[in-house]
Assembly symmetry: C2
Homo-oligomer: 245 residues x 2
């Protein structure tokens, strides 16, 4: 085992699967973010350590592409590693595997580090003497990088006011809740017939308690959809791509 | 350690806490139900074993009473044990403790076993030769039993259509989602000023994709509220009590 790669074991809990018994994508997203935390922490780049320096990690993009999903009560594992480090961003990848080690899917994420005081980006190459570079791995991640998502639609498909259960400890809408709300845009027939093959989310701005979010969707063919979430008029909060298949 | 008691360790994950950093009540509820599964499984009464006999457990009531909550990144533990077994119900209790073993709260739950074929109740004393009786423990659970909740209100405080992310593997609204939706009824100020001291839920009927749920609330004084969820007109789905303090 490459020591640059972290590997973590999970079980698909009964309340973590959808009506087809598949691990919910929001729950999978949560596990991916936790794996990022564990992996970073064990290598000196954890949130607690960074917070002492008044820095924190911010998730910019997440892409998940699955051939199949862990089913209820099944064991699965997530591997994670750092693919690239630039001055302002780092690419962290993931491989999701079933209980016999078979690949179920891959994920990509892009993170920035910011100052907790002025929310300005921090040069990653200057943190801990650039030690993050030591963890770069060329373990393969054979899925496409995040795409550019554009939505021209002007009539919202759904409106949602940010409520208590949406909030994270920073008082923002929790990153995972966006995924859940976006999945609720689609007719139940899609979930009966298909799996979600690819899901992308680009986090653009935070939303807060009481904000009114509007969800704009555009079908792009081939059971693929672009979704843009805007708040309080026209400010973009995030952009998503959902491909069923 | 009393071998009748199961003890399970957890950490309050970053996406599992609310905007005050407290473990979300829905997440705590999920952990309690998982602990019930683990404990029952290790003693021959797990879902997988029961399903072979075409039986399953059904949660009838859940009461959680907390003096304090696990905060973000903190370790905590849950103990669970069987308090009573009757022919049609069993009482399962819980103690939630902080990382130094200090009591944070207790919970009570009531379960029935039903046939998966006709949904009729099964006599618990006849399953596995009444072996469930061997696990009864008198470990103390110093919180009140579930109360009788009545709501006379006729104007709904909230309406919610059951959506994809609400569903469990049986195609019902997930037991935990009811808790989250009920908590979203209350003004954010309650969560700023108070903790949830006591939460009760009595599950009366299932709801399904597309059902329209109406939430009726009644303040009963002392920052306590009764909530009734009805579907498609007047059929009661569940009743809750929420006490802030």
């Amino acid at each position: 085992m490459d020591e640059k790669i972290g590997k973590y074991e999970f079980v698909a809990e009964p309340f973590h699967v959808d009506f087809r018994g598949r691990l919910s994508l929001g729950i999978l997203g949560n596990h991916l973010l936790n794996c990022a935390s564990f992996h970073a922490k064990d290598r000196g780049f954890g949130i607690a350590t960074l917070n002492e320096q008044h820095y924190t990690w911010v998730l910019s993009r997440l892409v998940i592409e699955m051939d199949s999903y862990p089913m209820d009560y099944k064991k699965f594992s997530i591997e994670t590693w750092v693919e690239n480090v630039y001055s302002l961003f780092t690419d962290r990848n993931y491989r999701i595997a079933g209980e016999n080690g078979e690949t179920m899917g891959y994920a990509r994420s892009i993170w920035a580090m910011i100052s907790m005081e002025d929310r300005k980006p921090i040069n990653l190459l200057k943190i801990n003497d650039g030690k993050i570079m030591d963890y770069i791995s060329d373990y393969p991640c054979p899925i496409e990088k995040p795409s550019r998502i554009k939505v021209m639609e002007t009539a919202p498909a759904m409106t949602h006011r940010v409520i208590y259960s949406d909030l994270d400890i920073n008082g923002h809408m929790n990153s995972i809740r966006y995924i859940e709300h976006v999945l609720d845009l689609f007719d139940i027939e899609y979930y009966r017939k298909y799996n979600i093959r690819r899901f992308e989310i680009a986090y653009v701005a935070e939303s807060y308690f009481g904000d009114t979010l509007e969800f704009f969707t555009e079908e792009t063919g081939d059971n693929s959809f672009n979704v843009e979430i805007r708040k309080n008029g026209n400010e973009v909060v995030c952009r998503c791509l959902v491909r069923f298949g």
